[in-house]
Amino acid sequence: MLSCSGNLSESFWRETAWRVVASNAPKFTKHSFPFFLSRAIPKLKTQNSPSPMDPLLELLHQNANVQRADLAKLLNLSIEEIDRRIDQYEKERVILGYQAVLDSEKIDADAVTAFIEVSITPERGGGFDRLAERIARFDEVKSCWLMSGGYDLAILVEGGNLREIARFVSEKLSTVDGVISTATRFRLKTYKQNGMLLSQPANAERLSVSP
C-alpha cells in the first residue's frame, strides 16, 4: 500500500482524536489527550505540505506491471529518470512492494479471512507501537492498524481454515501481554478487493467507430 497519510494535516488528527476522546473519555486510560496522540502519531509526515501524488506512483498503484519504457512514454520522461524515481521510492519505502491482487475464493474455497478488533494497554514511553509491532509480526496478520474509537488495533488475519484462525486468536494473540480483549469477525464474501470489483465488469458494448 502506498501511504497517503502525508496529506492529512496534524490538526485534522488532533481534532478527530479530540472528538473521540470526548465521547469515550471514561473508558480507557489511553484516551487522555494529548500524550497519547503525541506518541501514537509521530510518524505522520505532517511537516510536508500536501502535494499531489507523483503520477508515476499513481500509474504503479493502478498497475505495477507496466514496463518502464512504457512508463517513460506515458509520463514524457526518460527511462533513466523512471528508474531513478522508482529506486528512490523503494529506498524510502514509499513503495513497500508489488503484489498481484487475487481472488482468494477461487484459489482456496476454505481460506478464511478475519477482521479482529483488539484492545490493548498502551505502555509508558512507547504508547501502542511496541505491542502493535509485536502483533503485526505474526505471518497470519496481513494488515494491522491503530484505530480511533472503542478498540485500539484492527488486524486482518488470513488462515487456511477456521481452526487455524481460532488457534491464532486463542494461543497467540490473546495471550500476548497487554492484550485486554479481542473480537473476531469473519469474512463471508468478498465484493471488492484493493479497489477491484470481483464481479465481471459489465462489458458495455461500445460502437467500434463513432463520430
Partner: protein, 405 residues
C-alpha cells in the same frame, strides 16, 4: 371487402421512395465514418481507435443517481427548458468553468446532447441562404447540420503548422454580407486543437465588427492538458450578448448514452430554441437530467482522475506515433491525436482501410472531417493502456511493411 383490398394491394408496383425525399436531405452525403463503421462491423479482433467517446463507464455515483431517480418515480416529462435544479447546476458550473454568468430560468436550455442544442441554434438563427462559417477539420455533423437548416456552410481551413487553430484573418477572408454565424469548436474533434484567450480576442473583435453570432461548441472543455485553462469566447467583453455556448455531459463525465447537453445564450435566443425543442423533442430524459445534476455538482474529482489518465495516454501515443514516423503534434485537448500519414504515400482513406484489413486497427480517415483533413487520420486514445499499446505495435508493423514495399 377483404378480397378487394387484397386485390388492390396486389396491383401496387414497388415504388421508388427516394424520389419523395426532400432534395436538401437527399443531397447530403452519408457520413464517411458510417461507411467505415460498416466495414469494421464485419471483422473480429479489431482494436478500435475509431471511437468518439470515453472508454470509462459513467462514474458509479452518476449511474446511481439515475437509478435513484427512477426508484423515486421520476419518470415523467420535465419542464421544456429542463429541470430547474439542473439549470441552476449548469449556470453555476459555467460560471466556474468559463467565467460567464447565465440566468438559470431564462438563459439555459437542457437538450438531448449537444447535437440537438446545435441543431436548435441553427434552426433558430438561419433564414434560407444565411451563411455559417466553421473551421475544418472538425466534427462531422457541422456541415450537414447547417445544410439541414437550409443554411450555407462556409469552411475555413486550419492547418498543422498553426496547431490547427483557426486564425481571425482566415475567417475574415470568407465573411460576406450573408454571413450570419461563426461556429467554433475548441478543443476540436478531431485535431485536439485549443484556442487561448489571446487567439480568441481578434476573433471576437471580428464578430462584433461584422455582427456575427458565435456558436461555441465547448463539449471537450474539461479535457485540456498540460495545465492549460479552457478559454471560452463568451467570457470576452461584449461577447456573451452574441454567443450561444453549447456544452454537455457526454465527454466530461463519460455520459454519452445519457444524452444530456445544454445551451446558454441570451434569453430571446433560448426562447426561440425552446420553441423548436418543445415541439420537436419536448424535453430531455428526466432520469438523465437527474444524473447530470449529480455529475455537475459532485464529480469534479472523477473528472480530474480521467483527465490525468487521458493526458498520460496522450503522451504515450504521441511519443509512439512520432517514433513510428507518423508526425503528430501534441494535442492540448480532447482524446484524439491527428497524425499525418502522407509519408506512407497513401491517402487517409486507403491508409485506414489497409491498416484495418492487414492489422485490424480501426482509425478514422481525416477526410471524414472535411477536405482539409486529408493526409491525416484520427486516433482516439480513450482506450485501455494494453489495447493502446497493442494498436501502436500493429501500426508500427504496418508502417514498416509499407516502407518495404
Amino acid at each position: 371487402m377483404i378480397s378487394r383490398s387484397w386485390k388492390l394491394g396486389a396491383t401496387f408496383h414497388p415504388m421508388d421512395f427516394s424520389k419523395y425525399i426532400a432534395d436538401h436531405v437527399r443531397e447530403i452525403p452519408r457520413s464517411g465514418i458510417r461507411d467505415f463503421f460498416e466495414v469494421v462491423q464485419t471483422m473480429t479482433d479489431v482494436i478500435s481507435l475509431g471511437i468518439g467517446e470515453p472508454d470509462y463507464v459513467t462514474p458509479w455515483r452518476i449511474r446511481e443517481a439515475a437509478i435513484f431517480a427512477m426508484e423515486r418515480g421520476k419518470t415523467g416529462y420535465t419542464s421544456n427548458l429542463g429541470l430547474p435544479k439542473l439549470r441552476h447546476a449548469v449556470a453555476k458550473y459555467i460560471k466556474r468553468r468559463c467565467g460567464v454568468s447565465y440566468h438559470p430560468s431564462t438563459e439555459v436550455l437542457i437538450s438531448v446532447g449537444v447535437s440537438e442544442a446545435l441543431d436548435l441554434a441553427l434552426r433558430a438563427l438561419l433564414n434560407p441562404g444565411d451563411e455559417v462559417i466553421f473551421h475544418e477539420p472538425s466534427y462531422v455533423s457541422y456541415n450537414p447540420s447547417v445544410l439541414l437548416s437550409r443554411g450555407k456552410p462556409v469552411s475555413v481551413r486550419t492547418s498543422s503548422e498553426h496547431d490547427f487553430r483557426v486564425l481571425a484573418e482566415d475567417i475574415e477572408r470568407v465573411i460576406t454580407p450573408h454571413s450570419k454565424a461563426l461556429l467554433l469548436s475548441f478543443p476540436t474533434n478531431p485535431t485536439g486543437a485549443i484556442l487561448r484567450a489571446e487567439d480568441l480576442g481578434p476573433i471576437a473583435e471580428l464578430c462584433s465588427l461584422h455582427d456575427l453570432i458565435v456558436l461555441s461548441d465547448e463539449i471537450y472543455c474539461e479535457l485540456v492538458y498540460d495545465g492549460t485553462e479552457h478559454a471560452s469566447i463568451a467570457a470576452l467583453p461584449g461577447m456573451k450578448e452574441r454567443t450561444v455556448l453549447l456544452n454537455g455531459c457526454s465527454k466530461s463525465y463519460a455520459m454519452t448514452g445519457f444524452r444530456v447537453g445544454y445551451a446558454c445564450a441570451p434569453a430571446p435566443m433560448i426562447e426561440a430554441m425552446m420553441k423548436i425543442h418543445q415541439y420537436a423533442i419536448m424535453c430531455a430524459s428526466n432520469m438523465s437530467q437527474e444524473a447530470a445534476i449529480e455529475a455537475l455538482e459532485n464529480c469534479q474529482k472523477e473528472v480530474e482522475i480521467m483527465r490525468g489518465d487521458y493526458e498520460r495516454r496522450r503522451n504515450y501515443v504521441v511519443n509512439r506515433l512520432n517514433e513510428i514516423g507518423l508526425p503528430c503534434h501534441t494535442p492540448k485537448g480532447t482524446f484524439y491525436v491527428f497524425p499525418e500519414i502522407t509519408s506512407t504515400g497513401l491517402n487517409s482513406t486507403n491508409f485506414s482501410l489497409q491498416l484495418l484489413r492487414s492489422k485490424r486497427v480501426a482509425v478514422v480517415p481525416g477526410s471524414a472531417f472535411g477536405a482539409s483533413g486529408e493526409g491525416f487520420v484520427r486516433c482516439c486514445f480513450a482506450t485501455g493502456f494494453d489495447r493502446l499499446k497493442g494498436a501502436m505495435d500493429r501500426i508500427a508493423e504496418f508502417v514498416e511493411e509499407i516502407g518495404r514495399r
